[in-house]
C-alpha cells in the first residue's frame, strides 16, 4: 500500500506531488540522448594533450564530474577541502607557476563566496584559471542555498573573465580545450551527470566568443544560452504546429558577447525573445538589451528568464514550469506575444 504523498488539494483529482529529487536533478527528458560526465571526460582528453592542465575541487569532485579527471590523473589533481577561498587562491598560485588549473565547486560558492579571490588573484593578473561551477541557474530543487540564479550577474562585472553557458554535452566537450587554450580566466556553467546531447543534430561547432544560428525562422527569433537553447529548439518545433516559424540563435559565450551576430538577427521584424537559465537581472537578457541600446536599435526584446526573487524548493520539472522555463510556458508566452 502506497504511503507516498498525496495532494492535499482536493479541488483537482488527487495526484501525487512530485518530490525534490537528489541534489543534482537531471533536466534531460525521458528517452533523450545523453552523454555521461562530458566535462570530466573532456578534461581528461585535454589533459592528455596539454601536460600543464591540473584539476582542483573543494570537496565536490563527484558532483562536478572532476572525479573522472582525478581518477585518470591522480598526481595532477588537488583536493582543497570545503574551502572555496583556498580553492581559487591556490588555483591562482598554480597558474602563477605556469600550470592551467580547472577548479570546480558549485556556482553559488564560486560566485558568492570566493568572488574576491577570483577577482584579485586570478582576473586582475589575467591568469589562466578556469572556474567550473556546478548547478548554474535553476538546476537543483534544493532552494536558494544551491540555486545560482544570479551567477552571471555577479561574474559579468569582473574584468578579463570569459563566461561560457553551454547547452549540452557537445558544447562542453568542445569548450573545454578552448578554455584551456585561452589565456585569461574563464567561468564554465557546468552541466554534469547525464547531460543531454542536442547540438549534434545541427550544423554546429562551439567557438569561444561566437554566437551561432542553429535554425532560421520567419516569425520569431530566439536568442538563447545554456540549457535554454535546448528548450528554445524544442519550443521552435512545438510552435511549428501553430504555424509559427521560429529561429534559434545560440550564444554560449556570454562574455565577451558576440553582439554583431546577435544584433544582425534581432534587427528584423521578427519577435525577439531571449531565453536563459538565470535571473532576468544581469544575465543574457540584459547583455542583449545593452547591445541593442548601444547600437541604437529600436527593438523590443522579450525575456524568458527566472524572476528576480529567491526561488522555491521542489522538483525540477515543477519549478521549471512554475518559473517559465518549461517548453509549454515558452510556447504560450510566444503565442501571447504574437497575439
Amino acid at each position: 500500500m502506497s504511503t507516498t504523498t498525496e495532494a492535499p488539494d482536493t479541488t483537482t483529482a488527487a495526484k501525487p506531488k512530485l518530490k525534490t529529487s537528489a541534489m543534482i536533478a537531471s533536466f534531460a527528458d525521458p528517452d533523450q540522448k545523453t552523454a555521461s560526465a562530458p566535462f570530466g571526460h573532456a578534461l581528461v582528453k585535454a589533459a592528455q594533450e596539454n601536460d600543464k592542465i591540473v584539476g582542483l575541487t573543494a570537496d565536490l569532485g563527484k558532483y562536478t564530474d572532476m572525479h573522472i579527471f582525478a581518477k585518470a590523473f591522480p598526481e595532477r589533481f588537488f583536493q582543497m577541502g570545503m574551502a572555496e577561498q583556498l580553492l581559487f587562491g591556490a588555483a591562482a598560485g598554480l597558474a602563477e607557476t605556469g600550470l592551467v588549473p580547472f577548479a570546480s565547486t558549485y556556482s553559488v560558492f564560486a560566485a558568492r563566496r570566493a568572488y574576491d579571490f577570483l577577482c584579485l588573484d586570478a582576473a586582475e593578473p589575467n591568469l589562466n584559471v578556469n572556474i567550473v561551477g556546478g548547478l548554474p541557474g535553476l538546476t537543483t530543487g534544493y532552494g536558494p542555498s544551491h540555486q545560482a540564479t544570479e551567477d552571471m550577474a555577479i561574474f559579468r562585472g569582473m574584468p578579463n573573465l570569459t563566461i561560457v553557458d553551454p547547452c549540452d554535452s557537445i558544447d562542453i566537450e568542445q569548450a573545454v580545450p578552448q578554455l584551456a587554450a585561452s589565456d585569461g580566466p574563464t567561468y564554465l556553467r557546468l552541466l554534469r551527470g547525464n547531460v543531454p546531447t542536442v547540438l549534434d543534430e545541427y550544423d554546429y561547432t562551439f567557438e569561444l566568443g561566437k554566437a551561432k544560428v542553429l535554425r532560421g525562422g520567419n516569425d520569431v527569433v530566439f536568442i538563447s544560452s545554456g540549457l535554454m537553447t535546448m528548450r528554445a529548439l524544442q519550443a521552435a518545433k512545438a510552435l511549428a504546429a501553430h504555424n509559427v516559424d521560429a529561429a534559434v540563435v545560440h550564444t554560449p559565450t556570454i562574455k565577451p558577447f558576440d553582439a554583431a551576430t546577435v544584433l544582425a538577427e534581432i534587427n528584423t521584424d521578427r519577435l525577439a525573445v531571449t531565453l536563459e537559465n538565470h535571473s532576468v537581472v544581469g544575465g543574457l537578457f540584459e547583455t542583449v538589451a545593452s547591445a541593442v541600446v548601444t547600437a541604437g536599435v529600436g527593438k523590443r526584446v522579450v525575456p524568458v528568464a527566472l524572476p528576480d526573487q529567491f526561488l522555491d524548493a521542489g522538483a525540477l520539472p515543477t519549478l521549471h514550469d512554475r518559473y517559465g522555463l518549461a517548453v509549454d510556458r515558452i510556447v504560450a508566452k510566444v503565442l501571447a506575444e504574437l497575439g
Binding site: 595532477r76 581559487f88 598560485g93 602563477e96 593578473p125
Partner: protein
Amino acid sequence: MATDTVQFSADERQVATGVAQDRIVKISAAAYRIRHHALNMGEVQGQGYVGQALGAADMLATVYGDQLRFKAEDPHWEARDRFLLSTGHYAIGHYAALAEAGTVPVEELETYGSDDSRLPMSGMSTYTPGMEISGGSLGHGLTIAVGMALGLRFQGSSARVFNFLSDGELDEGSTWEAAMGAHHHQLGNLTAMVDINALQADGKTDTVLRTEPVTEKWESFGWYTQRVDGNDVAALLEAFDNAAAQAAAVGRPSVILCDTKVGRGVPLLENREKAHFMRIEEHEWQTCREQLTAGYEGKASA
C-alpha cells in the same frame, strides 16, 4: 606538539648560536638602509605606512639579504624563491627591500605613490618587478602561496615560497583555510612569516579580534612553529635557518611568528600613539632620519 615550537627568551637571543656575527652585521646594515628608504618615501608622499615598514624592516632585510634565492636583474627567473607580500599596504617596506636587493633602482623610490609610478601605494604584481602577487585584500596571500608551492613541487622545482602576512590577517578565515591546506598537502617548501605588531586598522589587535594564543594555533594546524623578536636580527636569522634546515618538498610547512614594534628604530615614532596610518608632520622627517642614524651608529659601534 610543544617540541615543535622554538621560543627564544631575551637571554637566549643574545647568545643565539650558530649565527655568525658578520651575517648579523650585514643584515642589520641592510635593515638600516631599508628604514632609511622608507622614511624618504614617506616624506615624498607626505604619508604612508611608514610605521609598518620600520617595524618589518628586519624581517624584510633577513629574507631578502640572507634567505631568498633570486636574480635581481631577472625577476622572472624560473628557479627563484617566491616572496609573496600579502599585506599590500606594506609595499613601502617591500619597495625599500627590492631597492636594497637591486631589483628596483634606489632613485625610483621617490616615485612611490605618484601617478604613473611602478610603485603604487598598495603592492601589485602587474606594476612592480619582483612583486609576485597583488596583495591588499587581506587574507589572500597564503592561499596563493599554497597553490604556488603545490605548482612548484609538482613541476620538480626546489624553489621555496615565503609568504609575508600580518597578525591582522589572522582574523581572516581564508588564512586558516590555507593553513589547513598547506599542512594537508605537506608543503615543506612553504614558509609563512607573520608580522605581529599587535595593531590593526581599528586599534590594538587584542581589542579588535583576539588572535592569541597565536603560537598554539599554528602548532595545532600542524606547522613547524617558531616565535621570535622580529626586530632582533640574530634571532630572525636563527629562526630562518631552522626553517630552511627542515624545508623539504614533502614535509611540514613552517611559520615564523615575529613580534615587532611599529616605528622601530625611530624613537619619535616608537613612542607616538600607535596608529595604523601614522601621521608625521613635515618638519619631523629629518628628525626621524637623524634618530634612525644615531640609533644604528650607536648600536654598530657598541
